[in-house]
């Protein structure tokens, strides 16, 4: 179960280092779990843009954790922190660890990483057969989006509807970076980054850190605040976009393998799409949400645009999506940005989401994705009984 969560200040944090915000989020999560730092005996982290391949050890060292029985990385970009949750669950269930700290922090907005686009490319782009053709991350998602529009006769307004709905949620979150309401016309009037994606179809670039502590069920001081991991699934497909496009079986560029991860999570939880009270769906771009809504069974193939336009993912809708404002409007501190979907789901399931609380939230899905809709993690979290 998830015993505690923490977040650093999000947005622009020029006064603190990446290590500083990371440790800040970690300490908050440990405190929220009712634990002391020395109770932590496992640590998982994605080093992302940090130069040292031992960055996870450095973070543990900074916290004063001399002996751990698990300290490792999950090098899966945006999907890392969903994958880490499953690893942590296995660790506490098997007795390998008592309390696992999962933490990540990046400074994409005011950090010292020079040429962040280039750094991002090291992991997200293939450098031999794709980057020479000027493929940036928005270009990859543009290729995905264009093919989606072609296959289903959808329009860029269908994608824009996701940005509009997400902003409605952000308006209810005092901590969100972008809170001013927007319309579909605003999205379509914003500059094209890589067609058909406009600036407002793209996630923010932020500083921020987040953390959660995973412990065995029933071990915390306040069981009412324990959040159950009802089901978790991962699925990874390919890397090169041509290979994704060629596809295999039921899957291709537009029909992603997130359905495989979702099926595992649904089966473990004994729940289906209609049972989710909210879903925090990884929104690196609007198209990322669109394909996941379909592949996870929230709506039919090619129907995401109408599903979103009809208000289903709005505040008060059938399936509120990204109630914190997501990567599109809340904050996107790189690979750890997806953690904010988890911390928000925990707040919602504890009934601690204040002005944006989803009424009687009992079950929440959280997804994360990376490498252009090819690596996915799907978690279903549940409120304490």
């Amino acid at each position: 179960m998830i015993a505690g969560i923490g977040e650093s200040k999000l947005g622009k944090v020029p006064e603190m280092s990446a290590l500083g915000i990371t440790v800040d989020a970690a300490l908050k999560a440990i405190d929220d779990a009712g634990l002391q730092v020395q109770d932590i005996d496992g640590l998982l982290l994605h080093p992302a843009f940090h130069v040292s391949p031992r960055y996870h050890i450095i973070v543990a060292e900074t916290l004063g954790l001399y002996v751990k029985t698990m300290a490792d990385t999950t090098m899966m970009g945006g999907a890392s922190y969903g994958a880490a949750l499953e690893r942590a669950k296995f660790a506490v269930e098997s007795g390998l660890c008592r309390n696992v700290l999962i933490v990540g922090g990046e400074k994409l907005a005011t950090g010292h990483v020079s040429g962040s686009a280039m750094m991002a490319s090291v992991g997200a782009h293939n450098l031999d057969y794709e980057y020479p053709f000027a493929a940036t991350i928005p270009a990859y998602y543009g290729l995905l989006a264009q093919r989606y529009l072609h296959d289903y006769g959808a329009t860029d307004a269908d994608l824009a509807a996701v940005a509009v709905a997400t902003r409605k949620h952000a308006a209810l979150n005092p901590g969100a970076t972008m809170r001013m309401p927007i319309t579909v016309d605003d999205v379509l009037a914003s500059p094209v980054i890589s067609s058909p994606l406009h600036r407002l179809d793209c996630s923010l670039v932020s500083d921020g850190a987040a953390a959660y502590v995973v412990s065995a069920q029933g071990t915390s001081k306040d069981p009412r605040r324990e959040i159950s991991m009802l089901g978790i699934g991962q699925a990874q497909s390919y890397y090169h976009m041509g290979q994704l496009a060629e596809g295999k079986g039921d899957h291709d560029l537009v029909r992603t393998v997130v359905d495989v991860a979702g099926k595992r999570a649904y089966e473990q939880a004994g729940l289906g799409p209609g049972d989710m009270d909210l879903a925090n769906i990884y929104d690196s771009f609007t198209i990322t949400v669109v394909v996941q809504l379909e592949d996870l069974g929230f709506c039919g193939r090619g129907e995401a645009g109408a599903f979103v336009t009809d208000g289903n993912i709005d505040p008060g809708g059938k399936l509120p999506v990204n109630t914190h404002g997501g990567l599109l409007s809340n904050a996107h501190p790189g690979a750890c940005g997806g953690m904010l979907g988890f911390t928000e789901a925990v707040r919602q399931l504890r009934g601690e989401a204040e002005g944006r609380q989803v009424a009687d939230a009992r079950a929440a899905m959280v997804t994360s994705a990376s490498a252009v809709a090819s690596n996915f993690s799907v978690s279903i979290l549940g409120a304490s009984a």
């Binding site: 686009a117 450098l127 020479p132 053709f133 990859y140 976009m241 041509g242 496009a245």
Partner: protein, 137 residues
């Protein structure tokens, strides 16, 4: 053709035949000796059947656009000043899908299913990239 500042690939034992073929302006891909399929990108084993026996085989250079994106902003990248750049996924006649660019194109050419043919951009003495232009009508 507009100049694009190209990040350069690393040429390895797996890819040297491919890059030699584009350098000669006559692209070859690996064709599996067992299942007969072409594969791209260059690699030591057939993606489809696992055979390590293959023959570098000339391809027609003809294909259709599977998807495209017109890159208009690319801050922080070496080609930031060279936008707009048309990025395409090309489904080759022989089967594989490769990422490339569409060059020397006009209105209506950048479209899904549009027919394209390979041309070559000599980037350095060593590296020539296969790019595509609208197929001759």
């Amino acid at each position: 053709m507009a100049h694009i500042t190209r990040p350069l690939p690393t040429i390895t034992q797996d890819s040297q035949e491919f890059w030699a073929s584009t350098h000669d302006h006559a692209m070859k891909l690996q064709r599996c000796d067992r299942c007969g399929r072409f594969w791209y990108y260059p690699g030591p084993v057939c993606h489809y059947c696992g055979s390590t026996a293959f023959t570098w085989t000339p391809v027609s250079g003809k294909g259709t656009i599977y998807s495209y994106s017109l890159l208009e902003r690319a801050r922080g990248n070496p080609f930031e000043g060279d936008v707009p750049i048309a990025i395409i996924l090309v489904r080759l006649e022989e089967g594989p899908v490769m990422m490339s660019n569409l060059v020397d194109y006009g209105d209506g050419d950048l479209a899904v299913d549009a027919a394209v043919e390979v041309t070559y951009e000599d980037v350095t003495d060593e590296v020539t990239l296969p790019v595509f232009r609208p197929a001759a009508r």
